[in-house]
């Protein structure tokens, strides 16, 4: 059995045999794998809902670890002229591991896990495309992540002291990349091939669409990072003539964490917001295809693989970089305008998904504005901590967006309601933490503080920079606390505790709310409603009870 196999028998034959429930409307080519039984079943499962939950659980733990490491680096910044907690070599290893850990072991797999679980439901599919490949993606990612951390633990990482450990971390990072991209292929293929009749791409749910747009950019940009990793590995293993020299390794790899490439990680956050906010406001988003187009434009502009300062030191002087930076800002402004229009026309419910999703987009807008300023030569921000502030704001935005996704789809994922009061508290904690975390570096950069060298000891310390770094450390601590709150809010639900979730606790508009929470094997038992717009469930409700007030129609809601 290969990961690419599709079973020869048709879904119709399987339905007749009772293996799945009634078929959704229109032909559905994807046959769900057998449901897992017991612990061994979970290990061998290809059920996308189980794989999604595994991704979410482990990525939250790694995200917590990555933020703790970043906090160690931030604490060192309180006294820039000496290292008080870490020595110089350890400081650099912790710095690089925190960035790799937060993005590739935390945020990206977290969003991918939500997508693997939710996207097949959103498009009315019985399963994900290539279910065994999705499962292989998770286990490969997990093994790669553990090897990556282990490699650092034995003095590896870029510039590490043990050559074998350095090779291990580079290879493990490549393994993590390949695994994540395999998972992305499964999600994107599902959206492109498994939609029901009537659901054109213009009518696809926003989160599913954002995974197509963002996933496509990841599939194009992250292999370039893989090429960088391959060159560094080869050179480090042989002659260390250029790519493998200790001082050159991190500059070749860190472009993915800088503007504009870092924004590509945030594309799914726009999809989350575009799904959550109309439901919370109780109103359709006007000009829906325009919103999808803006998400795609954001993804395209966030490509960034060609913005590698190691091979192009004069990047910030080039019009393409400046243009891309401003394009991000304009696209986000337009996107935010669309969401604002929905909120204005509706009656927003102050629930945790809205409280988390809206600040996520606002933070992203702030990051884009900062990135645009960074690209203007006259502001002289290049080489200061301003650039790091942009990255940190994006991290904060993605954490908020992922939290919004978990609180919104949590009932569907776990079958139980996550703790709503903790979700509302978390919105304030995460927002405050993200603003302090990223904002402190922006202000520090504005007063001219240069980027801290990789040794951790700065030769130039502007007045107030250390105080600002202290505020940034407070922000980092709040982010850690926020992620802990997120875990605590969902842990009981993940283990079957807490209030049972209704099939549609939010009065949702899209297909994932047309099935039970959690969904049964094969996802859908009842026939799906006809798809005539991006909001099929809202259409069905309007058709059956048009006289009911919008609030009254949501009587089951939390």
């Amino acid at each position: 059995m290969t990961v690419t196999e599709t079973r020869p028998e048709s879904l119709e034959e399987a339905a007749a045999a009772g293996a799945v429930g009634a078929l959704p409307s229109g032909p559905a080519p994807l046959l769900p794998p057998a449901p897992p039984e017991g612990f061994a079943g979970v290990l061998a499962t290809a059920e996308h809902k189980v794989v999604g939950r595994l991704y979410i659980g482990f990525s939250l733990l790694f995200l917590l670890g990555g933020l703790v490491l970043a906090e160690l680096v931030a604490v060192e910044g309180v006294d820039l002229q000496t290292l008080n907690v870490l020595d110089a070599d350890t400081y650099f290893q912790i710095l690089t591991l925190s960035q790799v850990g937060v993005f590739f072991l935390g945020l990206m797999p977290l969003l991918l896990g939500v997508a693997i679980h939710v996207v097949p439901l959103q498009v009315g599919s019985a399963t994900i495309a290539f279910p065994r490949a999705a499962a292989a993606s998770f286990w490969t990612w997990l093994v790669g992540a553990l090897l990556l951390v282990a490699g650092y633990g034995i003095n590896g990482g870029p510039g590490g002291g043990d050559p074998e450990a350095v090779h291990l971390t580079l290879a493990a990072w490549g393994m993590v990349l390949a695994a994540l991209l395999l998972g992305v292929i499964c999600v994107v293929t599902t959206v492109l091939t498994a939609r029901p009749e009537g659901m054109s791409l213009k009518r696809a749910p926003a989160f599913a669409w954002s995974m197509v747009a963002g996933g496509s950019v990841w599939l194009l940009a992250l292999p370039v990072l893989g090429a960088n990793l391959a060159l560094v590995y080869l050179d480090d293993a042989h002659s260390r003539i250029l790519f493998g020299q200790a001082d050159n390794v991190w500059p070749q790899l860190s472009w993915v964490f800088a503007s504009t490439a870092v924004f590509s990680f945030a594309v799914p956050v726009l999809g989350v917001a575009a799904d959550v906010i109309p439901v919370m406001a109780g109103r359709r988003q006007a000009r829906y295809p325009v919103g999808l187009g803006l998400i795609a434009a954001f993804a395209v502009v966030g490509f960034g693989a060609h913005h590698q300062t190691f091979f192009n030191p004069r990047l910030v002087e080039q019009g393409a970089f400046v243009g891309a930076s401003f394009a991000l800002l304009l696209v986000l402004l337009a996107f935010l305008g669309g969401l604002g229009d929905v909120l204005r026309r509706g009656r927003p419910r102050i629930a945790s998904p809205l409280m988390l999703a809206m600040p996520a987009v606002l933070l992203l807008l702030g990051a884009a504005a900062a990135a645009a300023a960074y690209s203007v030569r006259g502001f002289k921000l290049f080489g200061t901590t301003w650039g790091l502030g942009v990255t940190k704001l994006v991290v904060g935005a993605i954490v908020l967006g992922a939290a919004a996704a978990l609180h919104y789809w949590g009932p569907k994922v776990w079958g139980r309601m996550p703790a709503e009061p903790l979700g509302r508290l978390n919105a304030l904690v995460l927002l405050g933490g993200a603003v302090l975390y990223g904002g402190s570096d922006l202000v520090s950069g504005a007063i001219g503080q240069p980027t801290t060298p990789v040794t951790g000891v700065a030769t130039v310390v502007e007045d107030g920079a250390e105080l600002l770094n202290g505020l940034g450390a407070v922000g980092g601590a709040l982010l850690i606390f926020g992620v802990l709150l997120l875990i605590v809010a969902h842990l009981p639900a993940a283990f079957g505790q807490g209030r049972r979730a209704a099939a549609d606790p939010w009065g949702g508009f899209t297909l994932e709310w047309a099935t039970a929470s959690p969904p049964p094997h094969g996802n859908f038992i009842e026939p799906l409603p006809a798809i005539g717009s991006p909001y099929p469930l809202l259409d069905a409700r309007d058709a059956t009870a048009p006289a009911i007030d919008a609030l009254g129609a949501r009587s089951e809601v939390v």
Binding site: T6, P29, A227, A230
Partner: protein
């Protein structure tokens, strides 16, 4: 009544719309990612080469020899291999097993020949990994050999599974493998020009 039955018989529901083929779409995405991997390598190669030439230095070591004739043969081999690959997909779609086996065999033979030629060219070039150009060429050409082997295995497995009736639509797997194989050929075309012709 009979005429009503005849009318009812002619009003059969239309067939369901054709769906995009899952394996072909997945293979296209994987091929795109693979292509971008090589575009990254080639981009770095061209950038460093341009820097080196701008500074008045020679890019390749003096004792390195990259003959154009073997490289042109490699390019022709790859181009020719696309024909039996397409032929295999068509033959499978028609249920013509004999020609499918023949086309599959020719494709695999050409792929093996390419791998053989490419390794020989690299081994006799005089390049080493102790120079920047040598390291990059080894990375690019070696990486493409890996891509070729993956494509060859994909094609072989997909074709044999199709012939044993494992796919709902018989040509799905080989069609997906052909997409990946075409990407392999396209990548080599870029490598041929950037590395072997331009040097």
């Amino acid at each position: 009544m009979a005429s009503n039955g005849a009318i009812a018989a002619t009003l059969a529901p239309p067939p369901p719309p054709a769906r995009p083929r899952v394996m072909v779409v997945g293979s296209t995405l994987a091929a795109a990612a693979s292509v971008m991997f090589f575009m990254g390598l080639v981009g770095i190669y061209l950038a460093l080469r341009a820097d080196s030439l701008t500074q008045g230095e020679s890019w390749l070591p003096d004792d390195a020899v990259i003959s154009l004739v073997p490289a042109n043969m490699l390019m022709l081999t790859m181009l020719i291999s696309t024909v039996p690959a397409l032929w295999a997909v068509q033959a499978l779609g028609r249920g013509d097993r004999q020609h499918a086996y023949l086309a599959l065999g020719v494709t695999l033979l050409l792929a093996v020949a390419f791998i053989n030629q490419s390794t020989y060219l690299l081994a006799t070039s005089g390049l080493t990994v102790s120079t920047t150009s040598g390291l990059l060429i080894f990375a690019i050409v070696g990486g493409h050999l890996v891509m070729t082997v993956v494509g060859l295995l994909f094609f072989a497995v997909a074709a044999f599974r199709a012939l044993s009736g494992q796919y709902r639509r018989i040509a799905d797997g080989p069609a997906a493998a052909t997409v990946y194989w075409f990407a392999t050929v396209a990548v080599f075309a870029v490598i041929w020009y950037a590395v072997y012709v331009t040097k």
